[in-house]
Symmetry: C2
Subunit: 373 residues, 2 copies
């Protein structure tokens, strides 16, 4: 069964779709929880499936450095290694090389970088990024790209974008398992409209099975991100899935969907959970705060998730204050359930042609205060 995506409904620019893979169907728009090191932090695969997660993301850069690709190959690939039977998307390592490693040196051939774990030196080429991802065996894989920070000069953004396009071509050349793994393309170009447009045109002409918008959510103001999306997405092929990398706050997910994005990933829900922050429809609660010490209500009284069905804010606060692992498990479970359910409701609204209303009414009730803490 080759990997295939098709649109099932449209409402404005927003659309629902089905991503068919050998490991099952994923309905879009979808949020992918991040399992950086071959585990979605603090969760078991069964818990993710129980809350309705159908696809996760994992990181080539991290897995390559630790435990190493040979060990995952020996275990029978990433799915078996981590006991996750459903689809996986692996990124190429481009973003991590440029954001995490302590040194990097880019040439046309590839990028030399130092491990953030032990300082050892490594060399990634586009071909190597594909080779590694072929071994890992995810259903969706990404080309090595040259990611620039925000802010970044026009010349730097242009050179990196042009290199990313050439590297994407080399990745496609190298990638052979096109029936079992879909290699997406990544649009770069910083915040510069003409660079983004040029990148879209080149990549669209090459007919990839999916298109990611990269280099966003790297520190730029949100209105700039939304503006870039508006000038980028319409130039991508309508009939191919679009993936906005690194986005996972409820408000930004909505803004992505309304502009025609289909896939998202972000560490936000799991990261803030470990800081004791949970998402509810009104915004964020910091459960470590003293105000919750005697609050015997669930995290979100209207939520049917495992955490909210069985535990009080007071208990979870106690666990967090006492550094108990169950505290992180319960907040993580709730946040991932929240986003999974949120995407479910977005898909229903699109199918029922009431997405505009859903968008407005959610935004009116949701405060982003403290989102970045």
């Amino acid at each position: 069964m080759p990997i295939k995506w098709n649109i099932t409904a449209k409402d404005g620019q927003a659309r629902t779709g089905e991503l068919r893979t050998p490991r099952g169907i994923v309905e879009t728009p979808v949020f992918m929880p991040v399992g950086t090191q071959a585990t979605v932090k603090s969760m078991s695969p069964e818990e993710l499936q129980e809350m309705g997660v159908k696809i996760i993301l994992s990181n080539t850069y991290h897995l390559y450095l630790r435990p190493g690709v040979d060990i995952i190959a020996r275990a029978g690939g990433l799915h078996r290694f981590m006991h996750w039977e459903l689809p996986i998307l692996t990124d190429s390592g481009g973003f991590q090389v440029f954001s995490l490693s302590s040194m990097r040196d880019v040439s046309e051939e590839g990028v030399t970088f130092r491990s953030h774990i032990d300082g050892s030196t490594h060399f990634f080429t586009p071909e190597k990024a594909v080779e590694i991802q072929n071994i890992l065996g995810a259903e969706i894989i990404m080309p090595l790209d040259h990611v620039v920070p925000y802010p970044c000069s026009y010349e730097e953004a242009r050179d990196a974008m042009e290199r990313s396009v050439r590297w994407a071509g080399r990745c496609r050349e190298k990638h052979q398992k096109t029936g079992r793994q879909a290699l997406f393309a990544i649009v770069q170009g910083g915040i510069y409209r003409d660079l983004r447009e040029a990148c879209c045109r080149e990549l669209a002409a090459a007919d990839y099975p999916g298109y990611a918008v990269g280099g966003l959510s790297v520190g730029e103001p949100k209105d700039i991100m939304y503006r870039v999306l508006e000038t980028t997405v319409p130039l991508l092929p309508e009939e191919k899935p679009r993936y906005l990398m690194g986005v996972g706050s409820p408000d930004a997910l909505l803004e992505g969907v309304v502009r025609g994005v289909d896939l998202f990933d972000c560490v936000l829900p799991t990261r803030i959970a470990r800081n004791g922050r949970v998402m509810v429809k009104e915004g964020y609660l910091t459960l470590r705060n003293a105000q919750y010490s005697r609050d015997v209500r669930p995290v979100d009284p209207g939520c049917p998730c495992y955490t909210c069905r069985n535990y009080s804010r007071a208990y979870i606060r106690h666990l967090l204050k006492a550094d108990e692992i169950l505290g992180l498990r319960l907040t993580t479970y709730h946040n991932l359930y929240f986003l999974t359910d949120f995407m479910f409701r977005i898909r229903s609204a699109i199918r029922e042609q009431r997405f505009k209303h859903f968008y407005k009414s959610f935004k009116a009730g949701f405060s982003t205060a403290g989102q970045n803490n």
Copy 2:
């Protein structure tokens, strides 16, 4: 339904029994996982039940200091607070006051101590220990006792033992909910035979619903612990359950059972799990060691637990090295499953009159090397 224990089979000094409580029946001999701060570290209540755990222990000292008894009362008691529906045993705080707090000052009235968390000063009396445990609501509660370290002079051990007996009497005086909570007695007396014997005689005459052997597993050599057990247990009423506090290594559990002990608790299986150590029938494996990095076998190839059914040693080692919470969850799950299953097999062996054989054959195959790491 009052709390009641009765013997169901005997094989030498070893016996099986049923502890009947308003929250279900617990078959003995049983190992109780420790949920010090109202959570068995890294586990959910569902996971404990799935592996067959029927009773857990929690700590009055810790819960009194954090989150505080008023919050647990407000939440409807300890069971509801922590979402654990089955029986609980709470200890009195005696052991923690004497082992954890930075200062303690004992008088006949009670003990003044400083919190190990924030240095605040607190005063526990036998009556207060019962009051707190009445609010927590465990099925089995313990009297405040004066625990002495090892080594300890005869005079110190004698004074502490005599005080513990008087305090036990005051606890019983205070305790009213005898139908819903069974107040056990605790035998003290250090390593001194005549003190242990005197303590047993006094407490046995007072007819408590169960008897704990306290003040052991506090650093003394194991053969001393076994010798004390041998002189203590035969003086306790045959028809009452006996609880050896702080013991949880497989070899010591066996030695306790063969000497007529029915209940055990210990942090060992959960604590070593967090250091990456797991129990198998041959002894202990340190999964963080490099030798497991490419080992795709389960932790224990013959074990049917969740961890062993789904994950390899190589994956768990990777998680532990990468500081991933799932690593601790999987090792903890396996260790608690191991002990729960171990006690199940002990009970079967006793019922089938083949405990001596089970004892010898397990001991012959099990190495205690590295047990205390």
